[in-house]
């Protein structure tokens, strides 16, 4: 079936965060509850946002790295009488866009009427992503599988995996840690008015440069956070969403997930970028906001380049002069990204895109819930009237385009 047939047929019914009185912004370092409870909280909020009874959910998609609960258990916990579609993707950030795409496909093909997408994790107090690849050989002092060629050299944890890409990128294209600092400052500025964000103090170059080294070339402030959190999204047909509470944000196109390039600097957007624009029937300049996966500072910079906004190595200059700020020509990471808001494995950046397109960015404006914004950048982080948003997973492994009707 041609990809264009899929365009605009499905939409976001509701979005939700796993909030509690102790964690009103959803992101926390110690939730004190189970992952299942976090998932249920986020799903309830997404259904309230949509104005539907959670028992209407009949499909579910999630992704995890053995740090979450089986998707069907969330619908069971909500007492949903039937499960027509259930997908438990084994993987990480490459699925951040694709999980939504898959739910939309289930709805598009009529398998599910209301399909839940969620990611739930006690990512700080429970299983920590930062320890990924530990491979200690169960106390034997020996390690098999992939680890026999990696952990034996002390290689483990996402910062060390990605720092190879960063080092080569910086060396070949004369990108410096000061360029990273500039990117981090821009992104933090967007977080200052985000009540959900863990990191909200304005950032200086000095703070970035003096933050401790994790894995050279990454300083602490180049690394995304580890948080306990759940995010949820409910997908249904565009036709149904038009009759629900919120403004209709549709899914134009989506694809992925994941491929690996010979050149480690290259991201999946080199391949996905042109295809997703074609599938959505838009041009690059039509994209109003970009919410890339920002696990480490160079990653979103390379994603900007590979999508075609500038050439390889030029993101450091592209982001200058406010071009990627909330009032710039291409606002990026409008809520501060995974590095400042918190880490829901990339799904939170997609929820942010939906909030922005609805005109309901959660900020310090008194009436943001009703879509009323001041555009005073001391309190407001709503972009002015965006229509189209691009979101992507880790190193462009998957991508999705959202469009407001």
């Amino acid at each position: 079936m041609p990809e264009r047939d899929f365009r605009g047929k499905t939409a976001i019914a509701g979005i939700g965060y796993g909030r509690s009185p102790q964690a009103p912004g959803a992101f926390t370092t110690n939730s004190g509850v189970s992952v299942l409870t976090l998932a249920v909280r986020a799903t309830k909020e997404a259904c309230e946002d949509a104005g539907i009874d959670p028992k209407e959910l009949d499909g579910v998609v999630s992704f995890q790295l053995n740090d979450s609960v089986p998707p069907s258990s969330v619908l069971t916990a909500l007492g949903c009488p039937k499960i027509n579609y259930s997908s438990d993707l084994n993987g990480g950030g490459e699925y951040a866009s694709f999980a939504i795409v898959q739910a939309a496909q289930a709805v598009y093909h009529g398998i599910s009427n209301y399909c839940l997408v969620y990611r739930a994790m006690n990512g700080r107090s429970g299983v920590r992503m930062g320890q990924l690849g530990e491979g200690t050989g169960a106390g034997t002092g020996r390690v098999g599988g992939a680890g026999q060629f990696t952990s034996i050299y002390g290689l483990a944890g996402p910062p060390s995996f990605f720092a190879f890409q960063a080092q080569r990128y910086m060396a070949l294209y004369k990108v410096t840690s000061l360029d990273f600092a500039n990117f981090c400052i821009n992104r933090r500025t967007n977080a200052t008015n985000n009540p959900r964000a863990a990191m909200r103090q304005p950032l200086t170059i000095e703070e970035h440069q003096s933050s401790r080294m994790i894995v050279h070339p990454y300083h602490l402030l180049d690394c995304c956070l580890e948080t306990d959190v759940a995010c949820a999204m409910v997908i249904t047909t565009t036709e149904r969403v038009r009759h629900l509470k919120k403004k209709t944000v549709t899914i134009s196109a989506g694809m992925g997930a994941s491929s690996f390039a010979d050149e480690i600097i290259d991201t999946g957007l080199i391949h996905i970028g042109p295809r997703i624009l074609k599938a959505a029937g838009i041009k690059l300049k039509d994209i109003d906001i970009f919410e890339p996966y920002d696990n480490f500072t160079d990653c979103p910079m390379r994603l900007i380049e590979d999508m075609g906004w500038c050439k390889r190595g030029q993101a450091k200059d592209f982001i200058k002069d406010g071009r990627t700020s909330l009032d710039g020509e291409l606002p990026i990471l409008t809520q501060g990204g995974l590095t400042n808001e918190g880490y829901c494995h990339g799904l939170n950046n997609a929820l942010e895109a939906v909030q922005q397109l609805r005109g309901e960015a959660e900020d310090l404006c008194p009436d943001w819930r009703n879509g009323s914004h001041t555009y005073d950048r001391n309190i407001c982080r709503q972009v002015r009237n965006p229509e189209i948003a691009l979101h992507c997973g880790v190193t462009g492994g998957s991508a999705i385009i959202f469009r407001r009707e």
Binding site: G154, G157, R168, H216, P217
Partner: protein, 138 residues
């Protein structure tokens, strides 16, 4: 050699034991597809280019080029905590340029590491049963 090697050691399996066995003989070998001559690493059952399962183990010169590198300051693995900062490198092989292999460079200050630096394989007998591949400048 220290009395007790404190770092992680490899646990070879049926696909990797040839590779580790060669290191014991101070030889660096890689799987090469007998059908299309494509090298591959880490060892795997099928050729990524033509899918053939036929392969031979080819000895290479041990000359490498530094592809990328990192220095670890905050290790995840506790065994390395006393060694920070330590380097980890990705090396491409002169005889098999499509292969990237992980290792350490020894005998050089971390600040002297540069991309495209010429390296040569070093065979490090870390226990009476284990030889680990490392790299040094050439």
């Amino acid at each position: 050699m220290p009395d007790k090697y404190k770092y992680l050691l490899p646990l070879p399996d049926f696909e990797t034991k040839e590779w580790w066995g060669a290191l014991r003989r101070y030889e660096l070998v890689f799987q090469r597809c007998t059908r299309c001559q494509t090298f591959r690493h880490p060892p795997q059952g099928t050729c990524p280019r033509c899918y053939s399962e036929d392969h031979e183990w080819i000895k290479v010169s041990g000359r490498g080029i530094l592809y990328s590198y990192i220095t670890v300051w905050q290790p995840v693995l506790p065994q390395w905590r006393g060694d920070v900062p330590y380097n980890i490198v990705q090396v491409t092989l002169e005889d098999a340029p499509n292969i990237k292999i992980i290792g350490n460079v020894i005998g050089v200050d971390n600040s002297r590491l540069t991309i495209n630096m010429p390296l040569v394989a070093v065979f490090d007998d870390v226990t009476p049963e284990d030889t680990i591949l490392r790299w040094q400048p050439r």
